[in-house]
């Protein structure tokens, strides 16, 4: 009997390595992130659509007071923050994959991704700041806007 060595055992000659070395296992982590965030996003987004569009008067109920009422509650602040970050990272990575697949020129790929990452960073930072610096009980022209969640003036 001759023992046949498993081709994948031991060291792999550098020219056959699938990862670029310096990249580490970023692509595998990105792949895993898409699946983990995807499951969470199904719950977060279906919940978001149900509560905002299907309950009560649906879309007619949405105005400043509706958003203020939700974000007066840390539960919805956290819900929306998780949705913002997970959806933006999930979407940005998805579009990154599509750019890598279809933009053939190195320079085109590079610049499309620069635009993508810049846009995503702006949206994530803006959204995060809005959720946490938002005042659900503004005083307009000296009048406290009505809202059951606001302290009496």
């Amino acid at each position: 009997m001759t023992a046949i060595q498993s081709p994948r055992s031991g060291k792999i000659a550098p020219q056959y390595k699938r990862s670029g070395g310096s990249k580490g296992n970023f692509e595998m982590l990105a792949w895993l992130f898409m699946r983990l965030s995807g499951v969470v996003l199904v719950v977060l987004i279906f919940g978001h659509l149900f509560v905002n569009l299907l309950v009560g008067e649906g879309i007619h109920a949405i105005d400043f007071g509706f958003v203020a009422g939700k974000w007066a509650d840390p539960f919805w602040q956290f819900w929306d923050l998780a949705m913002l970050w997970l959806a933006m990272l999930h979407g940005t990575n998805g579009v990154r994959t599509i750019i890598n697949d279809y933009a053939e020129k190195d320079a085109t790929r590079f610049w499309l991704k620069v635009v993508l990452y810049a846009a995503s960073a702006v949206i994530v930072i803006l959204g995060t700041l809005v959720i946490f610096t938002f005042n659900p009980c503004p005083v307009v022209d000296g009048v406290q806007l009505p809202g059951g969640f606001c302290p009496a003036p």
């Binding site: 699946r35 995807g38 649906g58 913002l84 940005t92 809005v130 938002f134």
Partner: protein, 111 residues
């Protein structure tokens, strides 16, 4: 193959809507009037159709994404991928019909 194409197209559509949706929601930080004015644009009948189309894309992307996860992580996932696509399409039809009836009757039904 077509489910893969559909997954990409719906993904891109949802991503671009997400960018706009964060921007419009950010107007709550500007002023109550600014937000209410812009959100009013979402309440006209044409936009109601757009929202319904967007949710159709979201529901497909959600269920097909769960199917992709099942193909990748479930031992028999690859074997049953075709049957799971039919399950995805059936769930899509039921969920979308439920959403469309409720949302369109609210949005178009007058107020």
């Amino acid at each position: 193959m077509w489910s893969w194409v559909g997954h990409r197209i719906t993904g891109v559509v949802i991503f671009f809507f997400l960018l706009v949706h964060v921007l419009d929601t950010s107007l709550v930080r500007v002023s109550p009037e600014a937000y209410t004015a812009v959100i009013g644009a979402y309440k006209n009948p044409l936009m109601a159709l757009g929202e319904t189309g967007l949710v159709a894309a979201i529901i497909f992307h959600a269920f097909n994404g769960l199917r992709v996860i099942a193909v990748d992580f479930w031992k028999k996932g690859a074997k049953y991928q075709r049957q799971m696509l039919w399950v995805v399409l059936a769930l899509w039809l039921v969920t979308f019909a439920g959403f469309a009836i409720r949302h369109l009757s609210l949005a178009l039904g007058g107020h």
